[in-house]
Symmetry: C2
Subunit: 68 residues, 2 copies
DNA sequence: ACGATAAGTATAGCACACTTTACATTTTTT
DNA sequence: AAAAAATGTAAAGTGTGCTATACTTATCGT
């Protein structure tokens, strides 16, 4: 699964720390998500979508063959 | 977090087993999701939304105060 | 009443989402 | 060039999403 977090974050000129604080997660979580180390939980994905004023589907790009 | 999985499943007269098979998860996963034992992963949420031909936000009801 | 199908509970195990801390590297600013 | 800010890596720990198996309960048709 890919995501557009870094792209959206840079568009708005927000640092990882600022985004982390706004979402109430650690900065490591932001780094790991941006670098594709793992996927967000559904709840975090929702918060991210709200922060960027869009939908989950607009931020996370799902690859059909992915396994759970 | 609440979800409308059972409601949508019954609307379409699909059994838990059929839904599980369609989503490539176990029947236990469907039971647990319907009974609110835990939340779906982002990927599974996406598959569910696709199955029901709608969006993640239309199926999962997010409670603002929830913790990760 | 019986068997079949559907739905539920319980438990144990694995993988991964997220945390914390600490240190290293890169980029930006002055 | 040096300081400061931003980004990255690493490792260990906790919680939970999902699986598998096995047993139980409810519903329905015959």
């Amino acid at each position: 699964m890919q995501n557009r977090i870094q792209e959206l974050r840079k568009q708005r000129r927000v640092t990882q720390q600022e985004l982390a604080d706004a979402l109430s997660v650690s900065r490591q979580t932001i780094i790991s998500l941006e670098n594709g180390r793992y996927n967000a939980s559904l709840l975090l994905a929702h918060r991210i979508a709200q922060y960027f004023e869009t939908t989950i589907e607009a931020i996370f790009i799902f690859d059909e063959e992915e396994t759970l």
